[in-house]
């Protein structure tokens, strides 16, 4: 009885204490709810057709190029970017006072790009503004002046400025890609250079041989490639200013897959001098010379070296374990470790400029080639492409937010771009026979 009374008293006291504890902060500060688990989605940005006082053709090309760039970035909702989704009022104007923001909000837009274009002699002058639809505010105003024949370049620059505004990182669109493409005959492939979207293609080799595996010199002045002259694979650099070819290595039986270090001072490549391909390193540029250093010496083919962004490590493909797998090592050949354990045929590694991921081509259990990434720290493998033809040879954009690669999903081997998660993919070329693309540095 006494115990029961004591327990009741204790309970009552505890209730009073608890009530005070809850009530006191409620009086002083408002209650707090923690909301976690944001849903990250593409930003709904609309681009209104540009008003053109003159240069209507240039205006339309500018508009389409900008929309294609923004669409490929994966950052913006394709449904809202698509100008077929809405009818813009051509007399709406270019200022906060004249734009009917609720109408843009009705089509789902939260951001709006408007522009005016005019020709001044041979110069194209474009004025662009970015508006916040919900706040009815101007966020960005840019004016560009360029030769009228560089209308696509102007669009790429504004696309990069928009990416910079939204992500605080440089955009990838003022850059170029290099690739091999069949000319006249499927076995005759030459090296080409083009804008990131494969427009403005320029043939930079005319060897009538098989030229493959282009890779950029970090300053963008040249492209290193593998040339099969008289069936012998040599390593050659073509200088993009003069289109002169410079042989880098003709040693042994095979020279392939050259990659220049981020500081531009060292060249890593796969060379076979004793019947087994290994990774070698040599100095290039001023004061270069001497014998190359052999970095790997295990039995089994070692090939396709790719540099980490800090230049301290190399990833490569090795068959030392019985099947081609991705390995990494220090740039002096020490601390070799195997990275991939999933899949039995992994090749063409490319280290992301961000340093965290390596993209590669892998053959899955259904004997289909697809793109994957592996996180260098965690070893987590993620898939980029699936059930869309054969996909191979990924290469990172300079900002590490896009990859260019080859896909057969539309029939022939064509160039495509994808975001690293594979959520946004866009075809760049049609009707070609493309292979081994390499995304170059940003143009100065």
């Amino acid at each position: 009885m006494r115990l029961s009374w004591f327990a009741s008293a204790l309970t009552a006291m505890a209730a009073v204490v608890a009530a005070v504890a809850v009530a006191r902060p409620a009086l002083a500060t408002p209650p707090k709810l923690v909301i976690a688990g944001a849903n990250f989605q593409p930003y709904p940005l609309a681009v209104a057709p540009f008003e053109a006082a003159s240069g209507r053709g240039e205006s339309q090309e500018l508009f389409q190029t900008l929309v294609d760039d923004l669409s490929a970035s994966g950052l913006f909702s394709k449904a809202v970017l698509n100008p077929k989704g809405y009818l813009a009022d051509p007399h709406e104007g270019f200022t906060v006072a004249t734009i009917k923001f609720p109408r843009w909000s009705d089509v789902g837009a939260e951001g709006l790009v408007k522009g005016t274009v005019r020709l001044e002699g041979s110069q194209l002058v474009a004025d662009f503004k970015l508006f916040d639809v919900l706040a009815a505010q101007e966020q960005l105003h840019k004016t560009y002046r360029m030769p009228a024949d560089q209308v696509r370049h102007l669009a790429h620059r504004f696309a990069d400025d928009l990416i910079q505004f939204f992500t605080s990182e440089p955009g990838p669109f003022e850059s170029q890609i290099a690739f091999a493409k069949a000319v006249d005959h499927p076995r005759r492939k030459e090296i080409f250079v083009a804008d990131w979207d494969a427009h403005g293609q320029r043939q930079v080799t005319k060897n009538t041989d098989l030229d493959l595996l282009p890779n950029w010199v970090p300053d963008g002045s040249g492209v290193i490639y593998t040339r099969y002259e008289d069936q012998h694979p040599d390593l050659v650099e073509v200088l993009l200013g003069s289109l002169k070819n410079k042989v880098l290595s003709k040693r042994g039986d095979l020279n392939s897959g050259g990659a220049v270090s981020p500081d531009g001072r060292k060249l890593a490549w796969s060379m076979s001098v004793d019947g087994n391909a290994d990774i070698y390193l040599t100095d290039i540029g001023a004061g270069a010379g001497g014998e190359p250093t052999r970095l790997t010496s295990e039995p089994g083919i070692d090939t396709s070296p790719t540099w980490s962004p800090d230049g301290k490590q190399l990833a490569f493909v090795s068959q030392r374990g019985g099947s081609p797998q991705i390995y990494m090592m220090n740039s002096d050949g020490s601390a070799v470790r195997r990275l991939t354990y999933q899949g039995s045929y992994n090749q063409t590694p490319r280290w992301s400029p961000r340093g965290d991921l390596i993209a590669f081509t892998a053959r899955d259990e259904r004997a289909v080639f697809d793109l994957f990434t592996i996180n260098v720290q965690t070893g987590l493998v993620a898939r980029i492409t699936q059930d869309q033809g054969s996909n191979s040879d990924p290469s990172w954009a300079p900002n590490g937010r896009l990859l260019v690669f080859v896909s057969t999903r539309s029939g022939k081997p064509e160039l495509w771009v994808a975001t690293p998660d594979g959520n946004a993919q866009q075809q760049l070329t049609h009707g070609g026979d493309y292979s081994t693309p390499a995304w170059g540095p940003r143009l100065p």
């Binding site: 209650p31 944001a38 493998v381 898939r383």
Partner: protein, 208 residues
Amino acid sequence: MVHALLLLGLLYSSLFAPPRINNQETIHVKLARLGTPRDTKLLPRKPTEPTAPPAPPVQVSAVPIQSKPTPPRETAPKPEKNQDILKNALAKLGAQADQTGQLDGFEHGTDDQTEGDLYWARVKDRVLRFYIVPNTIPESQRHKLSASLEIHIAADGVISDTRMETSSGNPTFDHALVDAIKRVKAFPPPPAHLAKLARDGVVLEFQP
């Protein structure tokens, strides 16, 4: 007396005994296999949507098709099968379940504390539905983002006022939060004992 008891027993068993189950009729049950985990040595696959069965052909016509009305066919009522008995019983149970309160309700009611927790859970759930942030924010910055908004909820559940209490320092993220609250517009009306608290202000701390 004994006979009378026997007769009563027989009568009882014929009237109140449960119906005999006809073991000849089987109820078919299908077991769904959850699937075995993917071999860790294989490369990962992206999740794919299950393919929907082909839709029946739909006849499209600009003018409504006039069809002759057909008299309802008179059919003799079929004897009730065991499956039907089971189906009817489940339907009755389902109907009863629909009559009692809300899905997240409690059979014997709730005290103020539980009701309050439930209300704030509903508020969180509704905000979370609109917590959409543009992926223009780089991955490297996302884990650092945190911001607080103070909202005031009127007696009818409508958000009467919103104020940014702590900015994340990232305008895109802050903007997405304000936009989320604009889209929420209103919550369910707060219970009576929370009305003053809700009106005076609640802080929503957003984390990525």
